[in-house]
């Protein structure tokens, strides 16, 4: 039983990290019809800048804030430099964002050096609690709580505030929103920045969880995030949370029982969704426009 709990918590923690990456991806896609292949690069930048700030300041909280600021700034830069020139052209968008991903991950090697870096959780999050037979590793619980918090706050903003209303309306019909006198381009930029910040937060949280960070991890996690977005439904926020937990769980359990199949299982999930429900489990969009 304790094994089951441990694996479940492990899977939940991984799922939350993937969720942080996938949520930004899916909202940006829903609103702007842009699939950002550079999203994983923002994730890796969050991890590297966070670890760097942590080494300097010694405070994990400052590191998290620093990573979020990095994400916001890089997001603004990406939207302005890379996405803006190619609105409306899918093929160009896909091509250019992948190119930017390449530049982002190579820049990581230039700025922080080509070798992988190690990272450890702060003392107060290190170690574990013992609850009967079940061992709860503090840092994993922390990730799950942060993920739930981010989900809660974002959900609240989307559903209960005016800006959320505008974003949701924009996802449904951006021309209509624009014709009501709202600067949809500004909304795009803000959403892009928030999405990037979430990815960067995911990155900095991952660093002490996996122990090492390296430039290629952006791409690895981006693949998982794409699988999540397909399973959950493009543009569906809650869908991305549930699918991320599903993928995280599948990853954790398969890695323990049949480690060869952990990626394969997620691929099979994605295949099944693509065959039987191409719009995703929770999505309405996704059919060829």
């Amino acid at each position: 039983m304790d094994l089951f709990f441990n694996l479940a918590i492990n899977g939940l923690a991984t799922g939350m990290l993937i969720f942080l990456l996938a949520a930004g991806l899916t909202i940006i896609f829903g609103l702007m019809d842009v699939l950002n292949f550079a999203h994983g690069g923002l994730f890796a930048w969050g991890a590297y800048s966070g670890v760097w700030i942590y080494d300097i300041s010694g405070s994990f909280l400052v590191a998290i804030l620093g990573a979020i600021v990095t994400g916001l700034l890089l997001g603004a830069l990406t939207e302005w430099l890379i996405i803006k020139p190619v609105y409306g052209n899918h093929v160009q968008q896909i091509l250019i964002t992948l190119g930017f991903m390449l530049v982002l991950s190579e820049m990581l090697k230039v700025v922080f050096g080509p070798n992988q870096k190690s990272a450890a959780p702060p003392a107060y999050l290190d170690g574990s609690w013992q609850l009967g037979d079940v061992i709860l590793i503090k840092y994993r619980i922390f990730i799950i709580l942060v993920g739930a918090l981010v989900y809660g706050i974002t959900y609240f903003i989307l559903k209960r505030t005016r800006i959320g209303l505008i974003v949701r309306a924009g996802v449904m019909n951006k021309e209509m929103v624009q014709s009501l006198g709202i600067n949809i381009r500004l909304v795009f930029m803000l959403v892009f920045m928030v999405g990037s910040a979430m990815a960067a937060l995911g990155g900095v949280l991952l660093a002490p969880y996996s122990g090492v960070i390296y430039a290629e991890m952006g791409m690895e996690f981006a693949i998982l995030a794409f699988i999540v977005v397909v399973i959950g439904g493009m543009g569906s926020f809650t869908g991305s949370l549930l699918a991320a937990i599903l993928v995280g769980m599948a990853q954790a359990f398969m890695a323990y029982y049949v480690s060869e199949l952990s990626l394969a299982v997620n691929m099979l999930l994605m295949f099944a969704v693509l065959i039987f429900r191409p719009q995703g489990l929770f999505g309405g969009k996704g059919e060829a426009a």
């Binding site: 899918h90 093929v91 896909i94 091509l95 930017f100 691929m267 994605m270 295949f271 693509l274 191409p278």
Partner: protein
């Protein structure tokens, strides 16, 4: 068509003579890599340039080709027969995988094919790492090749690569000029319109996906012959990115462009790596290419060959207009 075919044949013949008159082995094997990646980039162009499909996992077909031949040769004797058998296996596996990827995602928006191929390539890479008994895992393995290809910088392998490149170039060009090729280009231009005329888009897109995958696997076969070694790096995203860079920089939808792009990237890679001793920034030469690539996507989406063609056609058109104008004037005067 007649004149351009003639020019291509002459260039091919000049390249065929090269190993007999020029014996810098490093440059010759570099030219051979250009042939191999030319085939690979050309297969990518068939998807991106002629059909408008973006694949981010093209490396997997390259890797399928490389591993199929390597494993078949490694498990059996290194003879020409097993080389051909391995090539057949490569073609079959690449055909099946590209069929599955196409059927699953090509009816959806273009993002889906890109994502699925990216993920599939990742899956193949993991599979190659885990199936150690067959693939040797991360370290890969050195393999024996048929005797005639043992000298990796000798003329036999060089000529084989050149011949395969030329044959596939003309085959693929013939394909793009065939009725099916015309439909593919029409799909690239306006999918809805082609569908409303009554073509089954899915069918044509899957054909493009399969042919592209199969040609890419052939490039993988030649690649493994030229290295006599295989490891998991053939499945890496870098390989796909190479094909992307070559195609975009050379010229999307031109077939010749990607081959020229392959030449530029391979030689630039070679020289920029040499410069790494001068300054460490050249080790990260890929950044330079990434930036060039991004600028190309925004400002020169047609690449080198496409942009040149555009200029050429414009000039020809202007000349024609000028001629007609003078003719009109003359007629008016008389």
């Amino acid at each position: 068509m007649g004149r351009s075919t003639g020019i291509y044949v002459i260039i091919a013949l000049l390249l065929a003579v090269l190993p007999f008159v020029y014996d810098d082995r490093i440059i010759l094997s570099l030219v051979m890599q250009v042939f191999i990646f030319g085939i690979f980039a050309m297969s990518y162009d068939l998807l991106l340039g002629f059909t408008g499909i973006v694949s981010f996992g093209h490396a997997m077909f390259f890797g399928i080709g490389a591993y199929s031949v390597a494993i078949v040769l490694n498990q059996n004797e290194a003879t020409l027969f097993y080389l051909l058998l391995g090539t057949l296996l490569a073609v079959a596996v690449a055909g099946i995988v590209s069929f599955i990827a196409g059927v699953l995602t090509l009816r959806l928006q273009s993002h889906f094919y890109a994502m699925l191929t990216l993920a599939l390539a990742g899956l193949f890479m993991v599979a190659a790492e885990k199936m150690r008994s067959l693939t040797g895992g991360n370290e890969g393995f050195v393999l024996m090749v048929p005797d005639m290809f043992i000298d990796t910088s000798g003329p036999t392998l060089y000529l084989t690569c050149l011949i395969v490149l030329v044959v596939f170039f003309f085959l693929v060009r013939r394909f793009t000029q065939s009725p099916v090729g015309k439909v593919l280009m029409a799909i690239r231009e306006n999918e809805q319109r082609v569908e409303s005329i009554g073509f089954s888009i899915m069918y044509y897109k899957v054909i493009a996906s399969m042919i592209s995958g199969i040609v890419a696997s052939i490039a993988g076969v030649l690649y493994v012959l030229s290295l006599q070694f295989v490891d998991t790096s053939v499945f890496a995203t870098d390989v796909t990115l190479d094909a992307l860079l070559m195609t975009i920089i050379g010229g999307v939808g031109t077939l010749v462009g990607p081959i020229i792009g392959a030449g530029i990237i391979e030689f630039a890679h070679h020289w920029l790596s040499d410069l790494a001793d001068v300054h460490w920034i050249f080790k990260r030469w890929i950044i330079l290419f990434g930036i060039v690539y991004i600028l190309a996507v925004i400002f020169f989406p047609r690449g080198i060959v496409g942009t040149l063609q555009e200029i050429w056609i414009k000039r020809k058109y202007k000349k024609q207009q000028g001629k007609e104008a003078t003719k009109d004037k003359n007629e008016a005067a008389s």
